[in-house]
Amino acid sequence: MDLSYTEQELAFREDVRDFLAEHLDPQVSQKVRTGRELTKAEMEGWHATLHARGWLAQNWPKSHGGAEWTAVQRFIYEEEAARASAPRIVPFGLSMLAPVLMEFGSKEQQDRWLPRILSGEDWWCQGYSEPGAGSDLASLKTRAVRDGDHYVVNGQKTWTTLGQFANMIFCLVRTDTECKPQEGISFLLIDMDTPGVEVRPIVLLDGTPEVNEVWLTDVRVPVENLVGEENKGWTYAKYLLTHERTNIAGVGFCQAGLDALKRLARTANHNGRPLSENPLFAARIAQVEIELMALATSNLRILAAAGAGRAPGVEASMLKVKGTDIRQAINDLARRAVGPYAMPFASEDVEGSNAPLPDPLNAGAVTKAYLNNRKISIFGGANEVQKNIIAKTALGGRG
């Protein structure tokens, strides 16, 4: 048992720091730090910067142009990037679709789509959830009917994050209705410029238009866009979800949030002293910090086990639940730290005047972040579903 980083890992951390210091646009990181929305161009720019360095596809094999980082390298990158307030890497093409294509896609599909993910030519979004289905993927209703060389797709997807920027969507569709709900599902790649695809924004409770509904009406999809076999989509979907979950704990986000929280608490006045010196608030911060110190180690342990070929099973669910709990607790404390300045809805600008709010705390959008991150315990498999999974292993396998 050895908790220290190797020489190589320490050198790698220096590389990452240097890279971030040199290439991260301060205006962009300032927006990330204060919780403002990035433009599409800003996100694409960051992808291009990482791609130029060969660091975009961190867990892809080198044969496909990936960095093939170890679990510890990915953890180090995540930690440094979050602390430097780098934009997050948009995961839909890189971390969600790509592993499925590499495992189940045809050679043609791999050759066609993977380079376009790296280059940024395609912006992918995810068509999993449907209205009325929630965390229950097996009940999905979007239908795809074979018609010659095409599937004709009808249905509706929802909670499609950043769908407003995407030109491609990977969808789970029902190709057989005569079988058990988990069977009869297929995995289709759909060009969003095809007639019949319509994207409608959903405004979240914090005012951000971050997710979308995607309506599919008689959308004709070439059969070569079917991944793997027809009616085997459930298998690919589960594989995708497993891969989606390797960074599920969000330790880097938590650490960046904790840093920001501490900065706020050092600045805020609490009855004549800095809030950070208030024993009760200091204890609340310390509480999330000690939880996070343990979570970071849990994350490394599980990544190490996964790296050694032991698949993360319920451990990923555990990381999801605890990671979202901690992140939400940090958001909650940040909101509380700024006191009445949590009340302005869009605290970055005073309307009309275009002047910044004269908030000495530079609170930024703490309330927006608090509200927005209520989603992290709901989306991506609600925490209740994760607990079901854990309990099933804990109780179902016995007795």
Partner: protein, 375 residues
Amino acid sequence: MNFDLSDERQMLSDTLRRFLADKYSSTLRNEVLSDPAGLSREIWSQLAELGVIGALFDEAQGGFGGAGGDIAVVFEELGRAGVVEPVLDTAVLAGGIIADLGNADQQALVEQIIAGELHVALAHGEPEARYDLPYVTCRAAEDAEGIRLEGRKAVVVNAEASEYLIVSAREAGGLRDWEGISLFLVPRDTAGLVLQGYALASRGRAAEVVLDGVTLTPEMRLGTAGQGGDALTKAMARSAVAQMAETLGAMHTACEMTQDYLMTRRQFGKPLGSFQALQHRVAEMLIEMEQARSATINALGHLDGPDRDRQISAAKALMGQIGKRIAEESIQMHGGIAMTQEYDLAHFAKRIIMGDHRFGDSDYHLERFIDLSAA
């Protein structure tokens, strides 16, 4: 000991609930929320006509209520319906201070408030004050030309729609001294008074207020020079009760929406409400609702008693905690739909959470409770 509503209050409660059920749809609320005024003048007049504002003042002040029980009845209904109009700010907070300290001329403003003809906002908090009540850096200095105010006030709710601001400023004493804080009635169009307005997360609007050489006559002082602290504390106590009752009402609606949703929405082939893990969480929410109601009752029942501030701090600390739990649990148990702005729960959840940021949050009051218990 008697926990029943008086007949008058029961009638007020019923009338207000019916009126709001009829008139105050979520469509209307969304219109008001997106209106640059931050409130509906029409609804405001109707609330005044119904006696809602008058119920918040006692007879000597021209009203017909004014006790903790009256405040609680009105605000529970306003919270339950998600009313965004600034009844708390104009009537309880600013109106309460005028009624408390005002001379005969100033009291005339209370009549206008009760009639629904006037808005007044309290400009007390400052950018660095957080919840620290005596933290007043704004200065008031009297010379031959009058009283000059200099300084900055933060998050002044409903400032833009108000004809007057009540501004706290220091005439004596050091930062955080209670002694030396004066209150002034400042017409909004006074030269040197600059508002920078913005929308609030949960309702209405607020403004940052810059006082740059605002000059007043001494008649605009409310009460005795340097002696504004008690009236401020009292107004904060009454406003805290109003805020708690509003939050209680909003929590009630959030719980009801959650219960309804769980019974109708199906997942994995069953109504969500048939999942025991969710059942127990609903049970826990309802247990907390009982606690929240009792906390509010404790606060309103001690509003005129010697233990007022300690009781209010106990109650507000608990309300903040319960509010957080109920808002978050309501969202979580709804799932994705509750994350959308157009679904009504989002408004109630924000309302509940933001209630903790007014008049001191749960930690502020927990510490104040400890201090006052030790005293």
